[in-house]
């Protein structure tokens, strides 16, 4: 069973099917928030592979000795982007000193800034850019990226900070700007085996193949250089 962050749902579902038809090994997925998955694994869940949406939960399991550290691999990456409802784009200058707060009206949606990975990255980036204090009370924390994106799509929020993968899938938002990579920690999706098993290892290897990479790319993930 593969325990994977919810944001990997469609990509992994497709790949799972492909792998199954090729190898004949059945794959099962459990998609949920990384934190929930990590805690389940910690509690002894029958997971073979863990695909986290950030390093933090992988580290957590690593600390607890629940994963096979050798197999850990940062397979995918992503880019943090600032979006606005379609047609409501605004000019933004990704630099310190830019008066971000007045650049748009309404709220800024992103994941919950203390816990949801995208929110954590967003807070980090905005803090780096010196925007945080002025925007802090306009930040709407959501449960996950999709919820944030949804709010922007519906025009409830004037702006949002999401992953590029998600922004790409939506026709109702426009990307206003990408956050420079140096404004936040690297966005990575670490994968690891929870316990040694031949089949799981095969699947993990399969994810590293070109065929898999294409699927990931198709869904907008970036590949982490290995």
């Amino acid at each position: 069973t593969v325990f994977a962050a919810a944001s990997l749902t469609n990509a992994l579902t497709d790949l799972g099917k492909a792998f199954q038809s090729q190898s004949g090994i059945p794959v099962k997925f459990s998609f949920a928030a990384s934190g929930a998955l990590a805690k389940q694994i910690q509690a002894g869940a029958p997971a073979d592979v863990f695909a986290s949406a950030d390093s933090k939960w992988m580290d957590y399991l690593y600390d607890k000795g629940k994963i096979d550290a050798d197999t850990r691999v940062d397979l995918l990456g992503n880019t943090l982007v600032l979006v606005a409802p379609q047609g409501k784009g605004f000019k933004v200058h990704m630099a310190k000193g830019f008066d971000f707060a007045t650049a748009f009206s309404g709220k800024l949606c992103t994941g919950v800034v203390d816990s949801v990975p995208v929110g954590i990255y967003a807070k980090e980036a905005m803090t780096k850019l010196g925007w945080w204090d002025s925007i802090r009370y306009r930040v709407v924390g959501t449960e996950d990226v999709r919820a944030a994106l949804n709010l922007v799509e519906r025009g409830e929020c004037g702006a949002g900070i999401v992953y590029e993968t998600d922004a790409k899938q939506s026709k109702k938002v426009e990307v206003v700007a990408k956050f420079p990579a140096d404004t936040h920690a690297k966005i990575v999706y670490p994968f690891a085996l929870v316990k040694q098993s031949g089949d799981a290892e095969k699947f993990l290897d399969f994810l590293k193949t070109k065929q898999a990479s294409e699927v990931f790319l198709m869904y907008g993930f970036t590949l982490q250089p290995r």
Binding site: K107, V112, D114, S115, V116, L151, E156
Partner: protein
């Protein structure tokens, strides 16, 4: 146990939201409970289905539906904003609405249950004493259904205290505005190593619930003793 500023803010917000939620749902809940208990009409099943939606669908979906209705572009939201200049999206009022919607079926079912057990002959007796429909309702039906109303209120209050999914979807998690106890708690559970503050929040929630339960218990015993004598 000293509370941190954050905890206090979440606690107060939760209390505000929950109390408002109960206050707001009580009148329509009682009314609807009464209607459902006492009348048979076409389309009742539809009302029932709609009423139970917040139970049957995952909270996130309800939150989303609320967003559609009350959001800036939603018709209800637009209407509220235009007419009363009330904005509910992303405010504690929205959180109260989300809680109210989630707790509403519980309230209605409890009220309905106790109303359906009120002996209609007592209502008829009251009417032979000159009490009109409204008066009968207020002086007979309502007090006799008090235990159910109380149960409904406490269920709705408790549900509201724990409401997470619909709230975060509808009004998000905004510090000081909509970060209720469960939302604060969520934050902690999503962060490795934050177990201790999470446990603190759990205890705070339980303490609030305990106080509410004890209060309702006392009220309930009083209501029951009024019905059964001493």
């Amino acid at each position: 146990m000293m509370l941190t500023e954050e905890e206090i803010s979440a606690l107060l917000l939760s209390l505000k939201v929950s109390l408002w939620c109960v206050a707001v749902t009580l009148p329509p809940g009682v009314l609807l409970g009464w209607v459902l208990a006492r009348f048979q009409f076409a389309g009742k099943a539809v009302i029932e289905a709609v009423l139970h939606m917040p139970l049957v669908l995952p909270p996130v979906v309800i939150g989303y539906v609320l967003l559609l209705a009350f959001g800036a572009n939603g018709w209800l939201g637009y209407w509220l904003a235009e007419l009363f200049d009330i904005r509910v999206a992303f405010t504690w009022k929205g959180a109260a609405i989300a809680s109210a919607v989630m707790g509403f079926p519980l309230m209605v079912r409890a009220v309905r249950l106790s109303m359906s057990l009120v002996d209609p002959r007592l209502e008829l007796a009251a009417s032979t004493l000159g009490a009109g429909r409204l008066r009968v309702f207020l002086t007979i039906t309502l007090p006799l259904a008090a235990p159910g109303i109380l149960t409904g209120a406490i269920l709705s209050f408790a549900r509201s205290l724990g409401e997470f999914g619909a709230t975060i979807t509808f009004v998000g998690n905004i510090e000081g505005e909509t970060r209720t106890l469960p939302l604060a708690l969520y934050t902690y559970t999503q962060t490795p190593g934050m177990d201790e503050p999470a446990v603190r929040l759990v205890l705070i929630s339980l303490a609030v619930a305990l106080v509410a339960l004890v209060a309702s218990e006392i009220l309930g015993r009083r209501a029951e003793s009024r019905l059964l004598g001493e």
